[in-house]
Structure formats: C-alpha cells, structure tokens
C-alpha cells in the first residue's frame, strides 16, 4: 500500500453511496432490458413477463447493490487498516526522532541561548500532529525555563555586583570616615539606591547597610567614650598627683633639712613624679591633652630639668650645649615629655648609677637633642621596630602592654612635628636624636663645636 500523500488523503467512498450508485447503474441497465422483454412478448404474455422480468431485474439490481455495498465496506475496512499501519509507522518514526534528536537538540539549543523556533527551523518538521503539539509544548516550557534561568542569573550577577559595591566602594570609605570624623560620618546619609529598577534585594541590602553602619558607629562611639573617659580620668589623676607633688615640695622646703624625713620626702617626690608621668601617658594614649601651659619662651635647661624630674633620675642626667637655647612655650611641655620617656628608657638600660647624657646641637633645621646612654644599644631589628613604633604611633587601642614609652614619643612627636631618630652613642649604647624644628625654637644660643663632641 502506498503511503504517499494523495493516497493518504483520499477518502474511501461510503458503502451506502457505493450501493446506491450500483443500484442506480444496474437499474439503468435492467430497466431497458425489462422494457424490451416486455415489448418483445405477445400482448397476452405481457403481464406475466413483466412481472417475472421485473422481479428478476429488481432482484438483480438488489444483488448488485448489495455486492457493491459489501465491496465498498470491505474497501473501507482495508483502507482503514492500511492507514492505521501507516500512521503507526509515522508515529514510531517521529517519536524516535523526537526523543533521539529533536528534544536533545532543543534542550541544547535553548541552553546555548537559541530560541525554540530557531532550533526547530533547523530540523524537518514533525508531521504527527500530537507529537508536533507535544514538541511545541515542551519547547515552550524549555524556553520559559531558559528565560527564568537567564533572569535568575542576571539577578545573581546584580546581587554580586551590589555586594561587591558594598564591600569595595561603600564599606572602606565609611570606616575611614568614621575613623577620622565619627560625627560627620553619623550625619552623612548614604546615597539613595541606584534608580535602575528596585528589587526586594535592594531593600534587604539597604537594611543590611543601615545595620552595619549603625553598628560601626556604635562601636566607634563606644571606643571614643572609653578613650574620652580614660583621658578625663587620667587628667584628673595627673592633676591630683601634681597637687600632691606641690604640697610635697612645700613640705620639703620647710622640713627637707630634717634628716629623719628627708630621704622619705625625696623618695615620695620621686614616686609622685613618675606616677604623674604614667597618668600623662594614659591621657596622651587616650588622645587627650594635659592642659599644661608655659610662658611664651622656656629655656632648654628648664625643659631638661622638668624631664629629668619626671623620671626621678635628676642626678644622673648630664646635659651639654643646652645653655642659652630657648624653645617656644608651646614646645616646652611636649619636649619635656618626649625627653622624659627617652631618659627613662636610657636610665633603665644603662647601669644603676651610669650617667645619661643629653647633647644639644644646633642645626639648620632646628636643634637636635641627642639622648645617649652606655647601655647595650639596639640591634638592627630592634631599631627598626622602635622606629616603626615612633613613626606610626597608635593610642590605647593598639598599644603593646606596658611598652607605652615609644608610643607616647611617637604621638607627641607627630603632634608637634618633632623628628625622632635612633642611632648608636659614642659609648656604644643607644643614641636617640630629637629634632625640634626651627619654628619652635626661640633662641639657638651658643652652638657647641660639633667636632669637639663627636670624637
């Protein structure tokens, strides 16, 4: 049986039509024959012949019609069977095509970004209607899924972009701003979110941003509160100790010549002076100021005496070249504090009675005070570490346990633009040079001969 398209679309005639056509055709043949036979016989036989031949003709017509009906019915059944077999073959073939080629191709195509229509255009069409519908439905779903996936990918990319923005473009400047000026950071509002489409994600990120921001600000505020409270307590401590020291000075003036109390008075003064320095250290590390003020200019020997007194090692300090030098009042107290820390360090590292010397030199940049000891000095790595601590000093929040001296030196030096450098003293110990810039020097005095001291 042919499976070509004409055959497939030809409709087998209905058996009743066939039977009617056969009946009419046979009637057309039988009716003249009957007329003739009736005419041919004699007048007398005519009714009989007419009846008999009429009956015969009618029977013949009926038989022909029945035969035609049966034949047509058989053909209809046969055609149906043939067609069914052909349809089965198509279905099987196209289902296989669908399963083995089209659907995978569709999935691949959609996955690689082509549309369902493009993919299907590249393949022969599916003739089976239901399969075609199935294919198109599956394609539609695939297309939808692909579009959803695309959307989700875009969303994820956007999420990542926004999070990256937060991480790289928002957080670092915010933390920097909080560190430099917390109040301004607290007042500055974030820019409004980007205008390109609003997402639920944006709300979540905005909330996260607000939360992070307020937490950072709260943490910074706590730190600042702690520092301010520390500075304030330290200042009160320092003031109280200074007041006590003042009373002690009066006591020493009146009773210092009595041998039974002299030693105790001196020792108490020494302890007080040192403790004042500790309180001042606390204040400085907490970012506060001690509030001490000096006259417009202060002779350098006075500054040195003040420093030595705070160490409680006045007798061990020998100064050279300080006579005649005066610094501005605003530099006196910070310089005394830097020197006190350096003298304390020098006294601690040299022998119990060894002398610590301060050598003062004039310089075109200002005056340099070299604090020199006969101790073991610093090795290269120690010197580098000390230099680093002075060059990038930190407050209480980064200070290393008890080792506050260099942090204080660094903080004060940075605030008043003193230069600090570490070297080796003529005795082989440590030599720390403190440069007081010219803008802070009131009178340079007689500058000692450099050559004479360097030898």
């Amino acid at each position: 049986m042919s499976t070509d398209s004409t055959d497939r679309i030809r409709i087998s005639p209905h058996p009743a039509h066939q039977a009617l056509i056969a009946l009419l055709a046979s009637a057309v043949l039988v009716a003249p024959a009957w007329s003739w036979s009736v005419a041919a016989v004699g007048q007398g036989d005519r009714p009989l012949v007419a009846a008999v031949t009429g009956a015969l003709g009618t029977a013949l017509c009926a038989a022909v019609a029945v035969a035609a009906h049966r034949a047509a019915a058989v053909r209809v059944v046969r055609d149906g069977r043939v067609r069914a077999r052909a349809a089965d073959d198509t279905l099987e073939h196209e289902a296989a095509l669908l399963a083995d080629h089209l659907l995978p191709a569709l999935a691949d195509g959609v996955r690689s970004g082509r549309t369902v229509r493009e993919v299907l255009a590249a393949h022969p069409p599916v003739r089976h209607a239901a399969l075609d519908r199935l294919l198109r439905a599956a394609g539609g779903e695939l297309d939808l899924a692909a579009r959803r996936a695309e959307h989700a990918r875009a969303l994820i990319a956007r999420c990542e972009r926004r999070i990256t923005e937060l991480d790289r473009a928002w957080l670092p400047p915010l933390t920097a701003r909080i560190r430099t000026d917390r109040c301004a950071a607290a007042e500055a509002a974030d820019p409004p979110p980007a205008p390109t489409g609003h997402l639920p994600l944006d709300d979540a990120l905005a909330s996260l941003r607000d939360h992070v921001r307020s937490e950072l600000l709260a943490a910074a505020r706590r730190t600042d509160t702690v520092l301010a409270a520390t500075a304030s307590c330290g200042a009160r401590l320092s003031a109280g100790l200074e007041t006590a020291a003042e009373h002690l000075r009066v006591l020493r003036e009146t009773h210092g010549d009595r041998p039974e109390v002299r030693e105790d008075l001196v020792e108490a003064g020494r302890v007080l002076a040192r403790t004042v320095r500790t309180a001042d250290t606390l204040v400085t590390l907490a970012g506060g100021g001690t509030g001490r003020r000096d006259p417009l200019t202060v002779p350098l020997p006075d500054v040195l005496r003040r420093a030595a007194r705070r160490v409680g090692a006045r007798t061990r300090v020998r100064a050279r070249g300080a006579e005649g030098v005066e610094v501005l009042g605003q530099a006196a107290e910070p310089l005394a504090r830097v020197l006190a820390e350096l003298l304390d360090n020098a006294a601690a590292f040299s022998g119990p009675d060894a002398e610590v010397s301060v050598r003062v030199e004039g310089d075109e940049e200002g005056i340099v005070l070299h604090v020199e000891d006969g101790g073991p000095g610093m090795r290269r790595r120690e010197r580098e570490a000390a230099r680093a601590r002075v060059d990038s000093p930190g407050g209480l929040e980064v200070v290393d346990g008890d080792r506050t001296g260099l942090a204080v030196v660094g903080l004060i030096a940075a605030r008043h633009r003193f230069g600090v450098d570490f070297g080796t003293s003529p005795q082989g110990g440590l030599s720390v040079g403190v440069l007081v810039p010219r803008t802070l020097v009131a009178a340079s005095g007689p500058v000692p001969e450099r050559a004479g001291l360097a030898s």
Binding site: D181, S238, T243, G291
Partner: protein, 438 residues
Amino acid sequence: MSARREDPLRWWEGAGARPADRGPARLPVFGADPVPDGAPDPAADPAGSGPPPPSPDHAGAPRLYGPAADRDVAALHARLRALGPVAPVLLEGDVPAWFVSGVRELRQVMGRSAWFSRDHRRWNLRDRIGPDHPVLAHALWAPPVLLGEDGADRADAIGDALAAVEGIDLRDLSRRVAGRRVDGFAAAGSADLVADYARHVPARVLARLCGAREVPPGELLAAAGTGPGAAAARGRLHGRLTELVRDRRRLPRADDPASLLAARRAAPEEVAQDLLLVLVFGQAAVADWIAVTLRLALADDGPARSLAAGRTTVPQALEEALWRDTPARNAVGRWAVQDCDLGGRRIRRGDLLVLGLAAAGAGAQPAGRERPRVFFGHGERGCPHPVPRVAAAIAAAAVEVVLERLPDLHAVPPLPARRSSPWAGGPDRLPVAFTPRP
C-alpha cells in the same frame, strides 16, 4: 490655674503682651494689665491690702545698684555677707529685698518652691513698681515658661530631650564647633574671646542640638542678646522653631532632641517656646560660663597658674570659675509665699529674695572644702537634669579647644574687669593675642 500663668509664648516681649485667648488671667503680666488692681486673687495676691510699710530692717541697707555697687561688686558682696546669710538690701529705686548669700539658706529657698515662689506676681510691692523697673528685667531672666502648672513637666521634657544626646557626641560636636570658631580667627593673631568665641560656640552647639542648624548664627546671637532687636529676633526665631517642630512631627529623626520635644502633646508653638528657651537661656548662660572660665585661665593668679601647671583640669577650672565668679551673680528671685524666718530674719509674705549666688560662692572659699552646688538651682524648679551636664560639656570643650589650639594664647592686658552689673554676666570682652596660625 490659668490665672497664674503668663502667656508662655510671649514672655520675651515683656509686660502687657498677653493675648486674650490665654484665658482670664486677672493678674497676668506685671503692672500693665487692664484688669483693675483690686481684683482679688487668693492664689496670686499676697495681701490684697496694698503695699506693706517699708520694713525697719531696710533702713540704711546696702544698695545693690548705683556707682558704688558697679565699681566693686565683690566688696558689696562682702559687706552683705557680713550682715548675715540673709541680709536686707535695696534694689533700684530703693526697693527693699532680702539678699540670701548663705549656702544653706540658698538651698532652702531654691529647694522649697511651695514656700518661695518664682512667680513675681506674689510681690507685695508690686503696686509700687512700674512695668519697666529694671528689676523685672532680671526677674525675666528666670524663664516664666517654667512657672505654670505644667512647668515641671516641661522642664523635664527639655531634660529628657537633651538626655538623648550621647555624652561623647555632645563633646565631639562641641569640640568641632569650637575648632571651627578657632579656625575663624587663628590667622589673625588676636581676637576677643567673648564676642568671637564664647558666645558663638554654645549658640552653634545648642542650635545643632535643637535641630536649628540652618539658622544663621547672627540671628541666634541677636536672639540671645540683650540688644534692642533681641525681642524681634526671638520672635523670628520662634517662628522658625515652630516650623521646625511641625517638620519634626511629620518626619521625626532618631536621637534628636527637637524630635523628642516635638513628640510632646502640645501645640507646636509651645514646643518651639521650649526650644527657644534652651537656645536663648542656654546660650547666654554657657557663653558667660565659658567667658568667666577663660578669664580665670588667662589671669595671672593662683587658679590660672594651677591650671597651667596641670594641677587643675579644665572641668575643675569651670567649677572654680562658678565659685569665684558665677555668671548668674545674683538672681531675682523668689517671693515668700508666707511669713517665715530665714537665716535669722523675719521674712514677710510677698517679700522679694535675691539669690546671692556669687556672694555665696565667694563665701565658700577657699577651694578644696566640700562645697554644695547651688549654681544650677536646686529642687524641682532648678535647672532640669541633665542640662547642667550639657552646659558643662559644651563649656569644657570650648575652653579646652581654644587653650589647646592656641598654646601661646595670652590676654592682652589689662585683663577686663568683671562685668559691672551686680546681676549677671561674664566679662563683656576678653581681648587676647597669640601667634597667628595659617
């Protein structure tokens, strides 16, 4: 009891400004009211039978005015103190009053608002005193806003609102404002620390606290001043603040005193009134405090040397300045609600008591002894918590910053005398010099 209330919205305009819609006040603002004088008001009218005859106690009493008083307030205070913790004194026009300079008596007077009222309508001499008597100007220094029934609540609301500001934020804000002011004149090498600094810092800080940062500083200072345009400036400022309160009701902000005050169930005009009170009185009081402390720090005597040597901290110097030279020197006042004995004197109902704060401070010298605090008032009608803390924080920041930033700051001699008025105020000017800084 509306009869006892002046219009709280118009107190700065002085007498006679009460609009009719504030209820049937029979004895509202002193002296200039159209209501007949004889109208009895048992709550406000002390005697109801005209002024009492001058007390024999006041014959030859020291005068708290005139050239002698202006020349040497301290000597006058010493003389009054010598007369006892409560002494007879004569105010402008020889108006008799009691001068309270004993710390214990001051605390009694300030602590018992039921016995000693702030309401000047209780004055038994009110018929003798014209509406423009200078004493009344001093009486108005104590804001009548806080006199009414809800005065304590309103004072508490102000306190609560200011308490919302974190101490560290207030300190940072004050230091920043002070730093900017110093930047303004640091290059000049000289300045008047009163006009250029002490008045500006509290004005700016309080304006920021009240959410009025966009108000031009000049307008704030005009409103806080005593010049001829002050009342008009206060009126303008009040208008601005009313707008501000309306804004804050619509869009409240977190941790914002203005928003907290705006949340009170009161008319915006009334809340603005409270804000104005904070701005105007706060500015004047803190500015004077800063000025007297800087004067103390720049003088060449014991307290200044102690500060310079690090034996005194700035907060201690602020306290010391109050004791030595309190800005609110003598406060008018309190009026006795009934006859009583105070400090060995017989006080009659409706008598005026002058709070001799400066004299009390001077009497409590030397420092180091335990000294009760009287300068912020006392009792429920005192300066509401935490307003003294806020004032101290602003003043401390202002004093610290200028001393830190200009380490060679020194007063240009002669150091200005204390303000001549026996009533209030720090120095009018405090010229200083320093190395100019670019």
